[in-house]
């Protein structure tokens, strides 16, 4: 069986685009949340979100490609190209190079525009590009086309766990010899009036009007997540080839645990049983004991239910060691990028392993008795991070945990 390492990272987030800018902002504790600017949010119950600013699809695609694709694909292509450049643009066997690119929702903005055309102008005016623009797997297809990679290619659509499943499944493809290299990522561009309304109706979004204070995972006064857009991509490759080409290795992907709550379509199982199962599976595959964990990048959405259930799951999995582990939620700064979150956060965890720098949970002010772990409050911390876990849990009851370890040849 092959070992698998992360050699490239391309974050496209409200906090920053590109690994240097993103990592600097994230470890400085800067929030990327603001009043919505891509449309006028007046009249919506929530008017803040995390938007990716200063990005033009024309920097990453031809004008024609940009026009024929949804923003979810624009962000995905940017992330994939950034990750590939960050990995040093390795030469690869294209047939042995795969793409696992997830999304939670897909090209919803394109769908809505064309639905308006249907209603206002009739079926004969609907764009022939409507279907390829809205389909969730569009990013996986376009990333493969951009690079000419003909290896295994899929889009896993597991809501807020989707990005983690992409990383985990890419890891397995390489581990079991089905591919040499993969671009694994997630994308989401669903900050739209309809999604704001829908998530608000679920009581899932925070009503805190102060953009930079609104996402406050594990804080007692948390009251929901901040909707964000973004994308993230990792280059994962077989360790031997990465070493022989002299690649800079961020971390080894050493374990992946996936499970289902089989409990409720949106609420987490309150004891965190599904999450525990995924955490244990990831540790088992990594051959690690709970005591070996140094850092956890939490799912930490800033909802009452998630943060309490996740804390319970971490405590049940790690036992007494849970209180010695640094657990931070970078959603406090990025907001919740849904299907992109897991991919970005796996990258964050790899960076924490690589640099020993653990980004903080910002807006942590008032402790909650249900959330009593070390959440790296408000200030990044330097330490020895040998083993990190990245948690992601999605509507549908999907749980995915990726384990990343310092690579030792």
């Amino acid at each position: 069986m092959n070992r698998v390492v992360v050699t490239g990272f391309g974050p496209v987030t409200p906090v920053g685009v590109g690994v240097d800018v993103f990592w600097e902002a994230l470890t400085a504790g800067r929030s990327g949340i603001d009043r919505i600017q891509r449309f006028d949010p007046s009249g919506l119950p929530v008017q803040i979100a995390g938007e990716v600013r200063n990005i033009s699809p024309d920097d990453w695609m031809t004008p024609k490609e940009a026009k024929r694709t949804d923003r979810a694909v624009h962000l995905a292509i940017a992330a994939a190209k950034l990750a590939w450049a960050d990995a040093g643009e390795p030469s690869v066997d294209r047939a042995r190079t795969g793409v696992m690119f997830s999304t939670g929702i897909g090209g919803l903005e394109s769908l809505l525009k064309q639905h308006l055309v249907l209603l206002e102008k009739g079926p004969d005016r609907v764009s022939p590009f409507m279907v390829p623009m809205l389909m969730p797997n569009a990013a996986a297809g376009h990333v493969a086309m951009a690079f000419g990679f003909t290896g295994p290619n899929a889009c896993i659509t597991t809501a807020c766990a989707a990005g983690s499943h992409a990383v985990g499944e890419a890891f397995r493809l390489i581990k079991y010899g089905l591919a040499d290299v993969c671009i694994a990522g997630g994308t989401e561009a669903s900050v739209l009036p309809l999604t704001v309304a829908g998530f608000a109706q679920m009581q899932a979004l925070t009503r805190n009007p102060d953009p930079e204070k609104a996402s406050r995972p594990f804080d007692k006064d948390r009251d929901g997540f901040v909707l964000s857009e973004g994308a993230g991509a990792l280059v994962v490759e077989e360790a031997g080839r990465a070493v022989s080409r002299g690649a800079r290795i961020y971390a080894e992907v050493c374990g992946y645990g996936a499970s289902a709550d089989a409990y409720h379509i949106t609420a987490p199982e309150p004891e965190g049983l599904g999450a525990i199962q995924a955490l244990q599976a990831a540790l088992e595959e990594a051959g690690e004991s709970p005591d070996g964990v140094d850092y956890i990048n939490a799912h930490g959405t800033s909802t009452q239910l998630n943060d309490a259930a996740e804390t319970r799951a971490v405590k049940k999995t790690l036992g007494g060691h849970a209180y010695r582990v640094a657990v931070s939620s970078t959603k406090s700064m990025t907001g919740h990028m849904l299907g992109a979150a897991g991919a970005v956060e796996a990258g964050v965890t790899a960076m924490a392993v690589h640099t020993g720098r653990m980004p903080p949970t910002i807006n942590y002010e008032t402790p909650d008795e249900e959330c009593d772990l070390d959440y790296v409050p408000n200030q990044a911390r330097q330490g020895d991070v040998r083993l990190g876990l990245s948690n992601a849990f999605g509507f549908g009851g999907h749980n995915a945990v990726v384990a990343l370890r310092r690579f030792e040849d």
Partner: protein, 83 residues
Amino acid sequence: MEMAELEQKVCKILADNLSVPEDQVTPAARFQEDLDADSLDLVEAVLALEEEFGVTIPEEEMEGVKTVGQAIQLVATKLGVAA
């Protein structure tokens, strides 16, 4: 509308719609070979022409259309513009 004006308008719409420089969109230009337009691009371009000129161009009438000049002629016929 004069034919020259129509020609100019059609070329401009096609250039915008197919994201190609305007100087490439000449009556002799072939959609597939010269303008890199596939069948879906052509459907989208026809939608734009229909929208602009308020005409209906059924799929079967588009079948033989391979060049920009043929598209201009099709629109001209619909609008009753003489060459």
